[in-house]
């Protein structure tokens, strides 16, 4: 049988939770094919958009068949997906016929959806965002000049998390938004996802025995993000995530990492909607990272 999954109208980190709740109705053997119906999507964040790729990849693994997807009816959303190269990357996950052509010229995206498969991709991403990030961070977010390089370092470290720990490919993308309702200022949102072994799997060999039955996805996230632990005994490992956390904190931003059935957020801000720790979420493979960097107030 085929299963139609309705993609939430607002496809952000909360919409992603709804999406994977429905996806988890698909278990091996009972569903032959999944159709993601995105016709009613009205708004998408970078996290939601690559979340749709991640969900499609999982559907494909569970059914053995590439899922299909119905494009959004909303013209703005469709145009945004085109500009973010969604349709360019989607054929790796979805059965698309015909594959929509790239209609846009120059993109206004900070970073279009980019697959991360090797260190070459990380180099390419760091090189590609240099000019765009300078324009956005300095002019829109009013960050000081060193932030351009600090953003490149952050980008490199979050992408490397996939290569070094996921044992699977992943995606990254970033875009600027006006967070009018919540903050009244622009923000940069950066999302990185994979559907690999996740933090619990990555750290298990080295740390699970020590924690016994208390070992969980939430604890693995805590050990990695708050204590700088990694799957390696080498003390030089595990510093990347801690460095990202410090940097996001200096920018008064938010960092959230979801893995397995847990999501940790640190730092968090009053204007945000991220809880420090959520457990008992829908189980989803790999790691999903969200970074929100707000503009500095004009009078700052």
């Amino acid at each position: 049988m085929s299963l139609v999954i309705e993609v939430p109208e607002v496809l952000d980190h909360k919409g992603f939770e709804v999406l994977i709740r429905d996806l988890n109705r698909v278990t091996r053997g009972d569903v032959r094919r999944v159709v993601f119906n995105a016709k009613h999507v009205r708004w998408t964040s970078p996290y939601g958009m690559i979340g749709l790729l991640a969900a499609g990849r999982v559907a494909r693994e569970r059914t053995g068949a590439a899922p299909s997807i119905e494009a959004p009816d909303n013209r703005d959303v469709r145009s945004y997906w085109e500009r973010m190269d969604f349709w360019h990357v989607a054929p790796e996950v979805y059965d698309l016929e015909p594959v929509p052509t790239r209609a846009h010229g120059t993109s206004d995206a900070l970073l279009e959806i980019t697959p991360i498969r090797s260190h070459h991709d990380v180099h390419a991403v760091v090189e590609r965002v240099r000019e765009r990030s300078a324009a956005i961070l300095l002019n829109k977010l009013h960050y000081p000049r060193p932030s351009v390089i600090q953003f490149s370092v952050l980008l490199s470290e979050v992408c490397q998390n996939i290569i070094e720990h996921a044992e699977a490919d992943g995606w990254v993308c970033a875009q600027t938004y006006n967070y009018r309702e919540r903050l009244g200022r622009d923000v940069v949102m950066l999302a990185v996802m994979d559907v690999g072994i996740g933090f619990e799997g990555s750290l298990a060999t080295e740390h699970s025995r020590r924690h016994g039955e208390r070992w969980s996805a939430g604890m693995a996230l805590e050990r990695a993000l708050l204590h700088g632990e990694s799957r390696y005994r080498d003390p030089g490992r595990g510093q990347g995530l801690q460095a990202i956390r410090r940097q996001v904190d200096r920018w008064d931003g938010e960092l959230a990492i979801r893995s397995g059935d847990a999501m940790i957020a640190s730092p968090t801000q009053e204007w945000g909607d991220l809880a420090h720790m959520q457990t008992g979420l829908e189980i989803f493979p790999g790691a999903q990272i969200l970074v929100v960097m707000p503009a500095r107030p004009e009078n700052d």
């Binding site: 760091v126 390089i149 490397q160 290569i163 510093q239 460095a243």
Partner: protein, 213 residues
Amino acid sequence: MPTEERPSPMPDIAVASLYQRNLVTRHTGRAVRLSIEGLVSELGATSLTVLDFGDVAVIDFSCADEVVAKLVLRAVDDGAAESQHFFVFRGVAQHHVDPMDCALRRRGLAAAAQGPEGEPFLIGEVDPAAYRLWQAVCQAGHASPDDLATEVGMDPQDCGRLLDRMCARRLLRRDGRAYHSLFYTFAQAERGGNGRGATDSGASGRADTSGRE
């Protein structure tokens, strides 16, 4: 690594420019480090390698660990009594410092660096007394513990111990009774013709750091 009062041989020197705009990813860092280690292995038992960061726009934390921290770690951990390898990081700008400092601190290490204008400083884990002493040596070029003790207002014996500790951490070089800054050593070695590329051919020694395999 114990230091002794006997004269120490002048080190071979090499200058390696890191021909990489983006020193990012652990993979790239590993490739860069291996090529630098190859360069060092061609030098004598005592060597001083200057790594020039002038062309490096971005260095991330993973790459800093692979290149900076692991080179220093191996130089410090090298147990062979007859070999001493030193590193100086040149052209280190403010945006390089955070990843390099963090990578060194995680391993309890420190390294001698020079800013874009040539100003000497230490990065990594160093206590304030050791830092003051190191600065005094840099200012003097080379000095005895007694002179330095007076200069920084420290007990001569404590001063000697701290200087020996900094030699073991490859932040200073000892030659007989005198302690030399690595910058002074470099200038002296260049004058004495100990530089591989620097004096043999008039060009800097180059590590093949095209780390994007």
